[in-house]
Amino acid sequence: MRDVFLKTTILTIAIFIAGFLFGIYVERMGLEDVKQRLTEIDNLWNDARLLQSNIQKFSKNITNYCDYLLDENLKIGDKIYEEGIKVERQGESNRFVLSEFILEKRRYALLDLQFWVNSIELRELCNANYSTVIFFYSHFDELAEQVFQGRVLWDLKQKCGPNIIYITFPMDLDISTLNVIKEIYNIQKIPAILINETVLLESPVSMTELEKYLKC
């Protein structure tokens, strides 16, 4: 009888080890996928940035190209937003490759920062009427309030589409620019929402309240 218990124990442990190895393997694959996606966005971003600076440099009147530039910016914005959700989900499902994933998340946040700055510049340059909605959250403490606020903002993005540029920033990944932004806007508590670089709202904020500050 001891034999059957021994066989069972060995097989169960073997299945568990296989499960953990599988987990590590798929997470590594997921991480590689995130890396590749971020490289693609990085390339897209560099291309768009270069296009904008060249137009600014060689064109006499940049406003002639505004529609094109805004369109490109929006496409990249949508791409960053889409990929951002996937990166978030990947992060939530990760158990083993946490530190490497944080590096990628920082990279993503930096891309988002560049995109945010560019969106502000373009809006001023082209007199565009989209709003920016920036969500500051914590990467490490997933509070229910934060999850709910994220869901409200997701709904808002679905509703408003290209009329809003929605960007999320993890505030506890030690990114110096974000630390400075925190000081500039005097962000005392996260989650918080910054609308059009002027209105800072502390969570929880309902959809109706958000819509008061936006042209959706």
């Binding site: 009888m1 059957v4 218990f5 066989k7 069972t8 124990t9 097989l11 169960t12 299945i15 568990f16 296989a18 499960g19 953990f20 599988f22 987990g23 798929v26 997470e27 997921g30 959700i85 996937k86 989900r89 990947q90 939530e92 499902s93 990760n94 158990r95 997933e142 229910a144 999850v147 709910f148 606020q149 869901r151 409200v152 997701w154 709904d155 929880p204 309902s206 959809m207 109706t208």
Partner: protein
């Protein structure tokens, strides 16, 4: 997902997988001889005891079924009226070829002990007064009484299968019968069910008969036999049909009795925990029952936690006004693997069970009942266990 849910999930997966593999190993190691019986040279004499309390509706049919059981020797059939207030005694008295004895109300165990004193057969067969043994039940069970086998249990099947709760119990009883057969290979049959179980009378007398203070004398006697190093076998093809509770209230009450009786037995024999002398109890059953109790409580906490999270989420949906379903992305992780493996093992387990038990009884064919059994019925158990534990601690239980 947070850490508590994940760790709990992993514990459940590990334990579930371990026991599924253990049972499959045990089953496939003995598959060919599952219905085999030793040849018997001389059939022992049998006494069939039917304790009854207010069973005027069923007693005649039960006795008829008992009389119809094939056996090469004369059967001693004794109906014990345990202080009935209805016409059980009068009805039983009219039936020829049986003894009907009357005593003051003392409970089922007391009636069985009374019968034990009066019976003369070598094999003492206990049959509930609302149960109906198959005509081959004796012929399929008696040959299993080899040396050191003190008791043989039978396959209990459900007679009333109209309501949903009855259908779910029908499935449950079939699974239980299969599991009991597998537990036989570990000498760990932990109950000799009331509807029909057989004992060597000499052994019962030697160990002092049934415990009259226990709510489930059929569990206690099995543990006592094991504690005296006796073995119990399961005759899978010896069938007895019985009536099960027809509504959730009666079902709940019955399970509380089972659980409280189980707890009484558990604490009575807890001193044998990790005993190397009585290995089946000390090294397997007592740790197994401790583990399953712990897991049930953990399961309850898990359910409460999930419910709490879900209600918090719904409150969030209501107060924040966001849509119920958010962005959905499937990202594989280690739980996918464990989920897949668990499904595979569950299907193998189910398939093995169905294949074997189809030789014994008709399996319910509705997939819906299977699904309901797995995902709803089994979830009620931890709540019942909690209620039983409270009753046990308060000592507020009765038949």
């Amino acid at each position: 997902m947070d850490v508590f849910l994940e760790v709990t999930n992993l514990i459940f997966i590990f334990v579930g997988l371990y026991f599924a593999i253990l049972f499959l190993f045990l089953f496939f190691g003995h598959e060919k001889k599952i219905f085999k019986k030793p040849r018997i040279k001389k059939f022992p004499s049998v006494s069939i005891i039917i304790p009854a309390y207010n069973e005027e509706k069923t007693i005649a049919k039960t006795v008829e079924a008992v009389k119809k059981m094939i056996y090469p020797r004369k059967k001693e059939i004794i109906v014990i009226d345990d202080g009935c207030k209805d016409k059980t005694y009068e009805i039983a008295k009219k039936i020829r070829g049986i003894k009907v004895l009357r005593k003051k109300r003392g409970g089922k165990a007391s009636a069985l002990n009374w019968g034990l004193k009066k019976a003369k057969g070598e094999i003492f067969v206990c049959i509930d007064s609302d149960s109906y043994p198959d005509k081959n039940a004796l012929m399929n069970s008696i040959p299993l009484f080899e040396k050191n086998i003190a008791s043989v249990t039978t396959t209990v099947i459900v007679r009333n299968t109209q309501t949903l709760i009855e259908k779910l119990q029908q499935l449950e009883y079939i699974f239980i019968a299969w599991s009991r057969k597998v537990l036989e290979y570990l000498n760990s049959i932990y109950v000799t069910p009331g509807p029909m179980s057989l004992y060597k009378r000499k052994v019962l007398l030697e160990i002092g008969g049934f415990d009259e203070k226990n709510m489930t004398e059929d569990i206690e006697i099995a543990w006592r036999l094991m504690s005296h190093k006796y073995k119990i076998k399961m005759a899978l093809d010896a069938k007895v049909s019985t009536y099960v509770p027809s509504n959730i209230k009666k079902w709940w009450h019955q399970r509380i009795r089972w659980n409280v009786g189980g707890m009484q037995t558990f604490f009575k024999y807890y001193h044998l925990f990790l005993s190397k002398e009585i290995k089946n109890l000390g090294m397997f059953l007592i740790p197994l029952f401790s583990l399953s109790y712990g897991l049930s409580i953990l399961g309850l906490i898990f359910l409460f936690y999930l419910t709490f999270n879900l209600s918090r989420y719904l409150i969030g949906v209501y107060s924040f006004g966001f849509s119920l379903i958010g962005p959905i992305y499937f990202i594989p992780n280690l739980f996918w693997f464990f989920g897949f493996i668990s499904i595979i093992f569950s299907l193998i387990y189910l398939r093995t069970n169905i294949k074997t038990m189809n030789n014994v009884t008709d399996f319910p064919k509705s997939i819906l009942h299977f699904i309901f059994y797995l995902f709803v019925y089994t979830l009620i158990f931890p709540f019942n266990l909690l209620h039983s534990s409270i009753k046990f601690l308060k000592k507020s239980y009765e038949w």
